[in-house]
């Protein structure tokens, strides 16, 4: 198993009530697998699943992107700075 740190921002932090999570992912997990596990663990994320952005080691990732061991993961909604 691969224990990963997940940082949460904006709506996702409010929805889950915390700034960070730890999850155990299977080795060779992808972003899609992470989202599946998240929604299964936290059903309240289900409505926003398709708009959740995932950054892996501070770079935008797609569903097929691998999650390396010890990666820093961040979950957030589409950005709205400026």
């Amino acid at each position: 198993m691969n224990r990963i740190q997940i940082l949460l921002f904006a709506t996702l932090r409010d929805t889950l009530g915390t700034r960070r999570l730890q999850l155990d992912l299977p080795a060779e997990a992808t972003v899609a697998g992470l989202k599946d596990l998240l929604v299964a663990t936290y059903p309240q994320l289900s409505p926003s699943r398709n708009s959740i952005m995932v950054a892996v080691n501070q770079e935008y990732a797609g569903d097929d992107s691998p999650i390396p061991s010890g990666a820093e993961i961040a979950l957030f909604p589409p950005v709205s700075g400026g």
Binding site: F9, A10, M53, E59, Y60, G81, G82
Partner: protein
């Protein structure tokens, strides 16, 4: 010679003069500056009033993406010399500047206006910063409509 690139995320009051000084060179004859402001009264779309905005950033990634925006500006407008991008975070009230984009060049007809415009547009697409809008009716997180591609 290396041209200055100033990137920062701060809770402090934005200082336009200080930023401009940092991106001004002996060769500078033009500076295009964009400032985003907290708007109290919104008429476009769903009309509403804003008490304040609460900004937050994923700081290390946001700084890296701001640097990427500056690199993209340089590759599109090679005549742009200095670039400053500063995002303020925290609780910001109406009539307060929230972001500064400053691009300098030798002359005004070098694309320097378009470069500053590109800077703010691109920041709003890829830099991980969010704002929560607080109005008399309640509060909600503003969400953008741009989905970056992997690695973008």
């Amino acid at each position: 010679m290396e041209f200055p690139t100033v990137i920062s995320i701060t809770e402090d009051v934005l200082d336009l003069d200080a930023l401009l000084a940092q991106v001004t060179l002996d060769s500078t004859g033009a500076a295009a500056v964009f400032t985003g402001m907290v708007r109290k009264v919104t008429a476009r779309g769903e009309a509403h009033e804003t008490l304040y905005l609460e900004y937050e950033a994923y700081q290390p990634m946001a700084e890296a993406k701001m640097r990427q925006v500056a690199d993209e500006i340089r590759s599109r407008w090679p005549a742009v010399e200095g670039i400053g991008i500063v995002q303020r975070v925290g609780r910001l009230h109406p009539q307060t500047p929230t972001v500064l984009i400053a691009c300098t060049a030798a002359h005004r007809d070098t694309g320097v206006f378009e470069a500053a415009r590109y800077g703010i547009d691109r920041l709003k697409e890829i830099v991980p910063v969010w704002k929560k809008e607080v109005s008399p009716q309640g509060e909600f997180w503003v969400e953008g409509d741009y989905i970056p591609k992997p690695g973008e």
